[in-house]
């Protein structure tokens, strides 16, 4: 019984320790900065996004955005794993209909361009898929 208690204690200790370690390990700003360098072709930076899955505790991270009509939006991501490996950016409209995803034909793309013709609220979700690091960053740019 005593051994069991000690084991549970160590297990809990390790879980807490691991969680803290993962939380500290994800430097989202570093990956947003790398993404920013890839935001080109005349896109103006609007915002950066932290993609920190807290070591796997969070499976996805969602942000609410307002997109305007007659505007192109570009999302670019960088994963700690490599390029955009392990992270999928998905765009939904206000009714939660999927409009765009960065995972196509079993391949992780570094982002997408969305040509918007309808002003409204959209949901931008970053999901982890077979990720090792659960960590990354992204930037959003626009072009009229």
């Amino acid at each position: 019984m005593k051994n069991l208690k000690v084991s549970i204690f160590f297990l809990l200790f390790l879980m807490v320790g691991t969680s803290v370690s993962f939380a500290q390990d994800c430097d989202s700003e570093l990956y947003s900065n790398i993404s920013l360098k890839k935001l080109n072709d005349g896109y103006t930076f609007i915002k950066s996004f932290k993609i920190d899955g807290k070591g796997g505790q969070r499976k996805d991270i969602e942000y609410t955005c307002v997109f305007s009509k007659d505007t192109k939006y570009r999302i670019i991501m960088q994963s700690k794993d490599d390029a955009a490996t392990g992270i999928v950016a998905t765009l939904f409209d206000a009714k939660r209909v999927e409009l765009a995803t960065s995972f196509q034909a079993n391949k992780f793309y570094e982002g997408w361009i969305y040509v918007c013709k309808a002003t409204g609220i959209y949901y931008l979700r970053f999901s982890f898929k077979d990720s090792n690091s659960y960590c990354g960053g992204a930037v959003l740019g626009f072009k009229r």
Binding site: T44, I46, V66, T71
Partner: protein, 282 residues
């Protein structure tokens, strides 16, 4: 100087837009999520510049009035207002006005004890180097995140809301002013689309409605909401079509939105915004 102008414009607009993203209230996550959905003033400013070449410097809040704002809530509101004015002056490359508004912003920021986050020398230095603009914008956003965190840590997150409200009202004021001078379908639609922002700001202000000096602002925004409640944004159903261009995924949506807004609605909004803004700068 042109590059400095662009950078300062971006800096001031990010000051405003970043204030929208992180503030937390009693229901921190709710507030943060709502604020995040407010449209970026960067996009609106680009549209104004596209439409009008006329600079309305005399319509902006006089930077000399900065000494009049002694109460914290007035400082926060006018920090938002001056930030928008700074961005506007930059947009039209009015260099002396830019410097005056930069001083006004710095003065109010110092007055709110957040001046340490505004590194103007660094901004000017970066502007004179070959550093690229996007990187500077990114750095500015990170600094603004620190400001919001600082305000939250000090239980002054309500200041973020006031900065946001002031900046939004000034942006609306300038937009309606440009529309009066240069009626334009796109601008009319953009004014109507602000229905989304009005609703979101109203929701956030409601979290703080019992706090000192919020009563009047909440009442004013409710009046504006009432006018906007008659305006509709209709969106047709559509699908996204995927293509690939130079290795990038491109989604073209055929869903189209349209705004139903009358000239009478525009007049009412213009008048209300002018009134609310008048109280703020007084």
């Amino acid at each position: 100087m042109k590059k400095l102008n662009i950078i300062l414009l971006a800096f001031s607009l990010l000051l405003v837009s970043s204030a929208f993203t992180r503030p937390k209230g009693g229901n921190g996550d709710d507030v943060s999520n709502i604020l995040q959905s407010i449209p970026s003033p960067i996009e609106i400013s680009f549209l104004i510049k596209e439409i009008s070449s006329q600079y309305n410097g005399s319509s902006l809040n006089n930077p000399k009035f900065v000494e009049n704002y002694t109460m914290s809530h007035k400082k926060a509101l006018n920090l938002g207002i001056y930030s928008t004015d700074l961005g506007y002056a930059n947009l039209y490359e009015k260099n002396q006005d830019v410097i005056n508004y930069l001083d006004a912003v710095r003065s109010l920021a110092n007055g709110l004890n957040i001046g340490q986050f505004f590194d103007y020398d660094a901004v000017k230095k970066l502007a004179s180097s070959s550093s690229n603009l996007p990187e500077l914008l990114k750095q500015t956003q990170q600094n603004m995140d620190l400001i919001n965190k600082h305000l939250k840590d000090q239980n002054r997150e309500n200041m973020s809301i006031l900065i946001l409200t002031g900046s939004w009202i000034e942006a609306m004021y300038l937009t309606t002013l440009v529309y009066e001078q240069t009626p334009n379908v796109k601008l009319k639609e953009k004014i109507g689309e602000q229905k989304i922002a009005v609703e979101q700001i109203q929701k956030v202000l409601d979290f703080y409605k019992t706090q000192p000096n919020f009563e009047g602002i909440v009442a004013d925004m409710k009046q504006l909401s009432l006018v906007y409640s008659k305006i509709t944004i209709a969106t047709s159903k559509g699908k996204s079509l995927l293509t690939e261009s130079n290795g990038a995924l491109v989604y073209n949506s055929d869903a189209v939105s349209s705004v139903q807004i009358t000239d009478k609605d525009i007049s009412l909004i213009t008048s209300l915004v002018k009134g609310v803004r008048g109280k703020m700068v007084k």
